[in-house]
C-alpha cells in the first residue's frame, strides 16, 4: 500500500521534474529581467507595411517574418544564476545543439549554440549563454531565437536591440 502511494506521488511529480528544464519559467520569475516575443508578434509586424524606402527597415521586415520566438532572460542574483547555468546545461543536452563559438574575455564567457537550418547560411535555432563574473555587475544572460534565421541578419538585429553578447555575435560569420 505504501509503495503504491509512493509510485503515485512520483508519477504525479514527473511533469514538474520535466518542467524544471523548461526555460520559459524564467519569464515570470522575480529578479529576472525578461523579454519574450512570439511568432504571432512577428507575423503581425510583418503584415505592417512600413512603406519605407529605407533598405534597413525592409531587411528587418524580411528577417522577422521568419522568426518564431525570441526570449531573453537576464539575472544578477547568485541563486538564480546558478539555477540558470544548470538548466541551460540540461537544455543543451536535451536539444542537441551544436556549439557555434565560445568567447572568453575579461571575466565574461559567451557561448553560442545553433541548430542547423535549411542551408549553411541559415539556422533554426540560435542559443546564447553569457556569464559575466565581473565583480561590479555579475550577470547571466540566456538568449534563444528560433525560426528560419539568417545569421547575418540576426547579428545586426541584436546589435540594434543592444542585446548583451551582440558584439561577440558580430564576429560569428568571420570566425565560421
Amino acid at each position: 500500500m505504501k509503495k503504491s502511494i509512493l509510485i503515485l506521488a512520483v508519477s504525479l511529480m514527473m511533469p514538474f521534474i520535466g518542467a524544471a528544464q523548461d526555460l520559459t519559467k524564467y519569464e515570470n520569475m522575480k529578479d529576472v529581467t525578461s523579454m519574450v516575443m512570439t511568432s504571432k508578434m512577428f507575423k503581425l509586424l510583418s503584415n505592417i507595411d512600413f512603406s519605407s524606402e529605407d533598405k534597413e527597415v525592409q531587411a528587418y521586415s524580411d528577417l522577422i517574418e521568419d522568426l518564431e520566438n525570441i526570449m531573453v532572460f537576464v539575472s544578477e542574483k547568485p541563486e538564480i544564476r546558478k539555477q540558470m547555468a544548470a538548466d541551460v546545461q540540461q537544455y543543451l543536452k536535451n536539444s542537441k545543439l551544436d556549439e557555434l563559438m565560445r568567447v572568453t574575455d575579461d571575466g565574461k564567457t559567451v557561448k553560442f549554440y545553433s541548430k542547423p537550418g535549411r542551408n549553411s547560411e541559415y539556422v533554426s535555432e540560435l542559443f546564447m549563454f553569457l556569464e559575466s563574473t565581473d565583480k561590479e555587475e555579475p550577470a547571466t544572460v540566456i538568449l534563444r531565437i528560433t525560426g528560419d534565421i539568417n545569421l547575418k541578419d540576426v547579428s545586426k538585429l541584436t546589435q540594434d536591440l543592444k542585446v548583451p553578447g551582440a558584439e561577440e555575435l558580430k564576429n560569428i560569420e568571420t570566425k565560421k
Binding site: 500500500m1 502511494i5 503515485l8 515570470n28 525578461s34 504571432k40 508578434m41 503581425l44 503584415n47 505592417i48
Partner: protein, 178 residues
C-alpha cells in the same frame, strides 16, 4: 483499495483541470463593480476631436475600432494585502489559449504583456496588461471588429496633434491617482 486511490486521484485531477475558466469579459464585468477597482470606457469618438476630417478609407478603418476600456487596480494602504490574489485571478484568465500572446517584458517589479484575439490581420481585441507590484495593475482593451494593424497605424500616423482629444488621456492617468 489501490483502485480506489487511483480513482480518487483521477477525479481530483479532473476537477482541478475542469475548473470553469473566466473570460476577460467576465472578469471585466465582475470587477468593475468591485471595490478597489476602477473602470473607464472610452469610445473612439471621445478620443478624437469631432472636427477631424477623414477620407473614406480612414473612416472605414476607424469604424473597425469600437472602444477602449480600461480596468485598474491601484494599490493603496487598505488593499495591499489583496493585490496578489487579484493579480493571480487576472493572470489565470490569460492561461486560456484563446488569447494569443504577442510579447511580454518584465523588469524588477514591473511587467507588461500584450495579447490579442482574432487573426493577425484582423484583430478583434488587443489587450495590454501592466503589473507594478508597488503601484497596482491595469488592463487596457482595444475592442474592435477585424482591426488591421497596418491600417490602424496608418490612421494614427495621419493624425495631427489637435486631432486627438488629450482630455481622455488625463482621465486614464487619474485612475492611478488615489
Amino acid at each position: 483499495m489501490k483502485i480506489k486511490v487511483i480513482i480518487v486521484v483521477a477525479l481530483t485531477t479532473l476537477m482541478v483541470s475542469c475548473d470553469d475558466k473566466t473570460s476577460l469579459q467576465e472578469f471585466y464585468v465582475e470587477k468593475q463593480e468591485t471595490k478597489n477597482y476602477k473602470a473607464l470606457d472610452l469610445s473612439t469618438s471621445l478620443i478624437l476631436n469631432e472636427k477631424i476630417e477623414l477620407d473614406s478609407s480612414q473612416e472605414a478603418t476607424l469604424k473597425t475600432i469600437k472602444k477602449v476600456n480600461i480596468l485598474a487596480y491601484p494599490i493603496s494602504e487598505e488593499n495591499k494585502t489583496k493585490y496578489e490574489t487579484e493579480k493571480a485571478e487576472l493572470t489565470k484568465v490569460f492561461e486560456d489559449e484563446e488569447y494569443s500572446k504577442l510579447m511580454s517584458y518584465r523588469m524588477g517589479s514591473q511587467q507588461v504583456e500584450i495579447f490579442f484575439l482574432g487573426e493577425e490581420e484582423a484583430i478583434d481585441e488587443l489587450i495590454v496588461v501592466g503589473y507594478d507590484d508597488e503601484k497596482g495593475f491595469g488592463i487596457a482593451r482595444v475592442l474592435g471588429d477585424d482591426m488591421n494593424p497596418d491600417d490602424v497605424l496608418k490612421l494614427i500616423k495621419s493624425f495631427d496633434d489637435g486631432d486627438i482629444n488629450t482630455g481622455s488621456f488625463k482621465e486614464v492617468s487619474e485612475l492611478f491617482k488615489s
